[in-house]
């Protein structure tokens, strides 16, 4: 599996959930370089692959933007 910059991953797997091994992160903790392990538009499919963690540093992130119009969030 090849090492990719996160910006490349965002473009390649746009609007998907990506599970990847984190090889480098920026000062805010955002992945910079990763090795993609799985990707899907359906989050629960990625959840099934989370057991690959096994001592590694992985990330599970959505590559799209949240919709801004007609969308509200409340977690009381």
């Amino acid at each position: 599996m090849e090492t990719l910059k996160w910006e490349v991953v965002r473009r390649t797997y746009a609007n998907q959930w990506v599970l990847a091994e984190v090889l480098a992160a920026d000062e805010e903790g955002r992945p910079k370089e990763v090795r993609v392990l799985a990707h899907s538009r359906v989050r629960r499919r990625i959840y099934r692959k989370l057991q690959r963690l096994k001592g590694r540093h992985l990330c599970l992130l959505y590559t799209g933007e949240p919709p801004r119009e007609g969308y509200a969030v409340a977690f009381p």
């Binding site: 629960r44 590694r56 992130l61």
Partner: protein, 131 residues
């Protein structure tokens, strides 16, 4: 002091958060939520990190908008945001609606260890240790 950029026009403030458990480390986006008593993570993430949710894991009453539920309470080995890490962070295990773009809530069990700043003009969350 740690600074984390966010989109001030987004419907919620998402913060990349590293969760450390017995089986490894997982970085996810969490909602910065001073209204949540605890860090909250979904069941699948808790299990992947190596936490058993079988009893006798303590359950706590969780008040939501519509009802009171009982949710498992675990202690995460470590939670880190932009390099600021706290050990032994209590976390509720509860699945958020799948439509959300975040894996969980960054609640007070983590945030209360810091002085917090929210700058919507610059789109910055600031975390600093109390003196």
């Amino acid at each position: 002091m740690a600074e984390i950029r966010f989109d001030p026009k987004a419907p919620s403030i998402l913060v990349p958060t590293a969760l450390f458990g017995p089986k490894g480390t997982l970085t996810v986006n969490m909602v910065f939520d001073t209204g949540a008593s605890f860090v909250t993570i979904p069941r699948a993430v808790a299990k992947a990190l190596g936490y058993s949710l079988r009893r006798p894991v303590p359950r706590v009453e969780m008040i939501t908008a519509s009802r009171v539920e009982r949710a498992p309470l675990i202690v995460l080995d470590r939670v880190a945001v932009a390099g600021e890490a706290i050990q032994n962070v209590e976390a509720l295990v509860h699945d958020l609606p799948p439509q959300g773009m975040a894996e969980g809530l960054l609640g007070l069990s983590f945030l209360r260890h810091f002085k917090l700043g929210l700058d919507f003009e610059r789109g910055l969350v600031e975390l600093s240790r109390p003196s």
